[in-house]
């Protein structure tokens, strides 16, 4: 039996609907004269937001008594990968126009595309090993491998920083969230979070 079906279903729909809406908007000329570029940007930022949400789950679990957080972790991670794949497809289709000779040139010359490709490869490795069989087979090494997610976060932020042209306000928001989530994983902070759970009964409701 699937535990937390409502939560899981809700997460599924919440992650599925935005790209469908964006795609519909792009086809109905609601995204302006360069819809491919807008889709590309939204999918990229969507992937980054999903990655940050995925990284919220462990600290939330430490800080509350509720164990439900763990049940959506794999799904959010896979959604991050799905958005990253759509982002990549949008790049290949709408920016590159499927001109793969140009892709070789871009990969050689553009650091932000190399960094993006590395981040995507990291997510690919995580997605491929996200199933139970891989967890069992890899054993203790699985946890080590999945620390790769922190490197992916760093690469994704760098990828975005290199695209910013004039105003880094939005990037700083993502960067701060990412930095905070990493800081919460340092032993002193995580100990504090766990103490929080011990002294106070956590609210029972699902906050989404």
């Amino acid at each position: 039996m699937i535990r937390q079906p409502l939560l899981r279903g809700g997460v599924f729909l919440a992650a599925l609907i935005p790209p469908l809406v964006w795609f519909y908007q792009a086809l109905s000329n609601a995204l302006g004269p360069d819809p491919g570029k807008v889709l590309l940007d939204r999918l990229g930022q969507g992937a980054l937001i999903l990655l940050l949400l995925t990284l919220c789950l462990s600290p939330l679990q430490w800080a509350t008594r509720w164990s439900g957080w763990a049940h959506i972790r794999r799904q959010l991670g896979l959604w991050t990968f799905a958005y990253a794949c759509l982002h990549l497809v949008a790049y290949l289709l709408f920016v590159l126009g499927l001109d793969f000779t140009q892709l070789a040139v871009e990969l050689r010359k553009r650091p932000y595309i190399i960094v993006g490709a590395l981040a995507w490869s990291g997510l690919l490795a995580l997605a491929l090993t996200s199933n139970r069989a891989s967890m069992r087979r890899l054993g203790a090494r699985w946890k080590k491998l999945h620390r790769l997610v922190y490197a992916v976060l760093g690469l994704a932020l760098l990828h975005m920083l290199w695209i910013v042209r004039s105003d880094i306000g939005l990037w700083l928001v993502y960067f701060s969230c990412g930095a905070l989530l990493l800081a919460l994983r340092l032993p002193p902070a995580s100990r504090l979070l766990k103490k929080l759970r011990g002294t106070r009964p956590a609210p029972a409701q699902v906050s989404r």
Partner: protein, 338 residues
């Protein structure tokens, strides 16, 4: 795709954008329908004094002197053969004007409240007649010309825009430049109250926005100061009430909402070059052979570019204006002076 109803009587078929390469059948049919519509329009359209003459383009809210200048304008003084004019809606809602925000839609959303009348421009530096001039006085001696130019943004997208303006060189001559005038420096309005981008604490630009040209570039007849587009006054988001248009250079050279023009001896400070000197040069000539470090400049997306019919084309040297301007750069290494 746009159809001009000429200000006075003509409405012949050559006014309609030719069967351009990328027009889909549906769009073409749409244009045909618009033509049918326009046949019924002229009487009504001419009744309104400042009608833009472009299908579906509102005349805006021009000052009185603008309507007068429009009457004597030379329409289609320059055209772009075989290329469609970008729809007004796209040209006025997809803008880089960082004073009003970093996203393409921000200028259209935020620029409406900028007061553009009255407007004064300071002309100073190495000139015989420095001073603070009202825009009306600046424009008065000139005939407005409609110049249809390709516009190539450094971000690898492009448009075709019908500007209304007059040669910058004519204005500079009236100011009587001295022998010390080697460059022209331009400055945009500084007005954080009406320009939210100038208030952003995380902006990387050192306001006000500044641009510059070498004297011979400024005097080239292709270089214009625009006060209108699509047969109407400039929308605020496109740089009202006075902007520079240099069609063979990347769009960021086309400084908007100009309040100061100085003739100077040394190469002036320019905003993007100062922000990222390895990415943006002083010259910023459109050049498919010199890539931006973050993307290729060999090709461009001509907007509007559909999702599954990307309108990608090769970028032309000097944006296709090489006959007119290549001689300005003879003997210069354009990979070094990018």
């Amino acid at each position: 795709m746009l159809i001009r109803i000429p200000p006075r009587s003509r409405c012949d078929s050559s006014e309609i954008t030719p069967e351009s390469v990328y027009l889909s059948r549906r769009r073409f049919m749409g244009a045909g329908a618009a033509l049918l519509g326009s046949a019924a329009l002229p009487v009504w359209a001419q009744a309104q004094a400042p009608a833009s003459g472009y299908e579906g383009v509102e005349p805006g809210n021009p000052p009185g002197w603008f309507a007068q200048k429009l009457d004597g304008a030379r329409w289609k003084a320059m055209e772009v053969a075989g290329e469609s004019i970008t729809p007004f809606q796209d040209a006025s809602h997809y803008n880089n004007f960082y004073e009003f925000g970093p996203d393409k839609g921000d200028p259209a959303a935020n620029a409406g409240g900028l007061p553009t009348e009255p407007w004064t421009v300071k002309i100073d530096g190495a000139v015989g007649k420095p001073g603070q001039y009202s825009l009306e006085d600046l424009v008065q001696p000139h005939t407005l010309e409609e110049r249809i130019y390709r516009m190539r943004c450094v971000e690898a997208w492009s448009m075709v825009i019908p500007w209304l303006g007059f040669p910058l060189g004519d204005l500079l001559k009236r100011a009587e430049p001295s022998s010390k005038a080697k460059y022209v420096s331009f400055e945009t309005l500084s007005d954080p109250e009406h320009m939210p981008g100038q208030k952003s604490r995380f902006g990387l630009i050192d306001w006000p926005y500044r641009e510059g040209l070498r004297m011979d570039e400024a005097m080239n007849p292709l270089t214009i100061l625009a006060v209108g587009m699509y047969g109407r006054v400039l929308p605020n988001q496109n740089g009202a009430p006075l902007r520079l248009v240099v069609p063979w250079k990347y769009g960021f050279k086309g400084i908007k909402s100009i309040v100061r023009i100085s003739l100077v001896e040394e190469q002036p400070y320019t905003t993007w070059q100062n922000l990222a000197p390895n990415e943006y040069g002083f010259y910023a000539n459109v050049n498919p052979q010199v890539d931006h470090p973050r993307w290729t400049q060999a090709r461009e997306r001509r907007l509007p570019s559909g999702l599954f019919s990307p309108n990608v084309r090769d970028t032309l040297m000097f944006n296709g204006y090489g006959d007119e301007v290549a001689s300005l750069y003879q003997g210069m290494d354009l990979a070094k002076y990018y």
